[in-house]
């Protein structure tokens, strides 16, 4: 017993403080009138902040954008991830090196990836894509003006595709060689194998990739901050960026906190499923 006090308690106590402190504070701030610029705005607000936020078109836009970001990025990374990891499973020449090459973007910090895409690739005049389009006689695209949200989706997907690949590769390693050989004996081609055996085997891994990305991408921030700063208009403002803008640009602490609480609620809905899956996995140890 004495041992336990010295071992896992410190971790649990600091995490408890880290989780509960800010959470309670955020809830509190979301219920009061609080503006850093104007000290005369004060007092209990009740659900006023929430009401104000929920009826604000910027908020509804940001929710819509958040969902679009999540859905597209997850869709792209999972589908491409499955195809690429299946390909990597095929005993290619230099396969191990290729794997390193393919997972590399994951280790590029978000601000760097945002800037190299914005300036070196997607720039409407000097960007490499503009050059490529020109080769085919196509007019240049002003990516961040014409399809701002799409551009951010491309950047984040590039960053996170390696994550999906990595997880799927790990999961497919647990598939025994014998299963593969047995299915070959049964006459399964690539297509049949992919759909009948590979996908079902990776079911859990796909679920994990989807849920983890849901939680992480709720916080997409750096890419927006360094490329579009939420614009044009509200076209690339997601929930995270909205909270940042309300808090650190408009200094409306109450409203920003209400936005924060909404993101916590959303993350928790996803987290329940994810945690249940993790707990189940622990039982099967």
């Amino acid at each position: 017993m004495k041992l336990r006090v010295l071992s896992d308690y410190p971790a649990i106590v600091v995490l408890l403080i880290w989780m509960l402190g800010p959470l309670i504070a955020t809830i509190y701030y979301s219920l009061i009138r609080y503006n850093l610029l104007n000290p005369r705005i004060k007092g209990f607000a009740g659900i006023e902040n929430y009401e104000f936020l929920l009826t604000d078109f910027v908020f509804t836009d940001s929710i819509y954008n958040s969902i679009q970001l999540l859905g597209s990025i997850i869709g792209i990374t999972v589908v491409l991830g499955l195809l690429i990891s299946y390909l990597l499973d095929q005993d290619l020449y230099g396969g191990r090196l290729l794997q390193l090459v393919i997972i590399s973007p994951f280790f590029v910090m978000p601000t760097v990836s945002a800037l190299i895409w914005k300036n070196l690739l997607m720039h409407p005049v000097n960007g490499y894509f503009t050059y490529l389009l020109g080769l085919f006689g196509l007019p240049p695209i002003d990516w961040f003006a014409d399809i701002p949200l799409g551009s951010i989706i491309i950047i984040v997907s590039w960053n996170w595709l390696p994550f999906a690949v990595l997880v799927f590769i790990t999961a497919q390693q647990s598939m025994s060689l014998e299963i593969k050989e047995a299915s070959k004996m049964d006459g399964a081609g690539h297509l049949a194998f992919f759909f009948q055996i590979y996908l079902p085997h990776l079911g859990k891994a796909i679920g994990a990739v989807v849920m983890i990305q849901m939680i992480f991408h709720l916080n997409i921030f750096a890419e927006i901050f360094t490329t579009t700063t939420g614009g044009p208009g509200t076209q690339t403002t997601n929930l995270a960026f909205l909270v940042y803008r309300k808090a650190l640009l408009d200094f409306d602490i109450g409203g920003a906190s209400a936005g924060g609480i909404i993101s916590i609620v959303f993350a928790n809905i996803v987290a329940i499923f994810l945690l249940r899956m993790i707990a189940k996995n622990m039982n099967s140890d």
């Binding site: 041992l3 336990r4 071992s7 896992d8 410190p10 971790a11 995490l15 800010p22 959470l23 701030y29 390909l87 990597l88 095929q90 020449y93 230099g94 396969g95 393919i102 997972i103 590399s104 973007p105 280790f107 590029v108 978000p110 601000t111 760097v112 800037l115 190299i116 914005k118 300036n119 070196l120 690739l121 005049v125 000097n126 490499y128 050059y131 590039w158 994550f163 997880v167 790990t170 999961a171 859990k204 891994a205 679920g207 994990a208 983890i212 916080n219 750096a222 901050f225 360094t226 995270a240 940042y244 650190l248 920003a256 924060g260 916590i264 993350a267 996803v270 945690l275 996995n281 039982n283």
Partner: protein
């Protein structure tokens, strides 16, 4: 069969090239002159120069930001490891009925979106004078990575056969000796690679670093974003700075890819 393998390999490498291209292009741009960097059509063949790398340091004090990144990621990692080792040890070797619940709860703290708690943290840091300080970021990153570090260490510890610890129990008098002579040497490499994982994650974190630092304690993530403002539009120099910021960590990332999966999927994938 053989020609099949060749075809698939070519396909794989073409895809690999496309995925890697942005990084390659960036590294190439960093070796160009500013004029070559914006040339249309883009130039694949040019006389490489290291000039940008020197300019980056002189103009923006690059080393200062790099030093911040190093200090913050290393100290936050050390702190997290210090707290996590005893906790993981007790979860792995002295499990109780509540161990599973505790582990899952610890993971659940990782699922709190930073944006949800940005406001109180910002205000708290402002009041405590922790904004734009090393300590401020170190504390946040320690807490942010603690669940992952505990989890990864726990899975490593669980792989140590129980019988080895029992053998040690038969021979060593006291927990401290078991820890020093058996457990620590056995888990050296696990602790090391978990630390690398933690450093990679902190190095690239850019929500808190952008929101809580300005200049003094700003790590590389924040430094790079300063190039997004128009006055910083020097592509070759931006590329040089970016290359410096990501290459060392990309190497660590390659080394720690296994721990990365373990840590980021929080045990949902084995």
């Amino acid at each position: 069969m053989k020609s099949n393998r060749v075809l698939l390999s070519i396909l794989g490498w073409v895809i690999g090239f496309i995925i890697f291209f942005p990084i390659l292009w960036m590294v190439m741009a960093s070796l160009k002159t500013e004029i070559d960097a914006v040339a249309t059509p883009p130039s694949f063949f040019f006389t490489p120069t290291l000039e940008n790398y020197f300019v980056v340091q002189n103009r923006s004090n690059y080393l200062n930001y790099a030093w911040n990144s190093i200090v913050i990621s290393v100290f936050a990692t050390l702190l997290a490891i210090l707290i996590a080792v005893p906790a993981s040890y007790s979860f792995a070797f002295r499990p109780t009925k509540r161990t599973k619940f505790k582990l899952v709860w610890i993971l659940s703290t990782k699922m709190m979106p930073p944006v949800g708690v940005l406001i109180p943290m910002y205000l708290f840091y402002k009041n405590m004078g922790l904004l734009d300080t090393h300590l401020g970021l170190i504390l946040i990153y320690t807490l942010m990575n603690l669940p992952i570090v505990i989890w990864v260490l726990y899975t490593y510890f669980k792989d140590i056969p129980q019988e080895i610890l029992e053998a040690a129990q038969m021979e060593c008098d006291g927990l401290l000796k078991i820890f020093l002579y058996i457990l620590l040497p056995l888990s050296k490499s696990a602790i090391f690679s978990t630390s690398l994982l933690s450093i990679v994650l902190i190095w690239n974190e850019s929500f808190w670093s952008l929101n809580l630092t300005a200049f003094e304690a700003a790590p590389l993530t924040a430094f790079i974003s300063s190039y997004s403002s128009p006055e910083g539009l020097f592509w070759a120099k931006l590329s040089a700075a970016s290359t410096l910021a990501i290459l060392p960590i990309m190497f660590l990332g390659w080394v720690t890819q296994k721990q990365m999966v373990k840590g980021l999927t929080l045990g949902a994938v084995k």
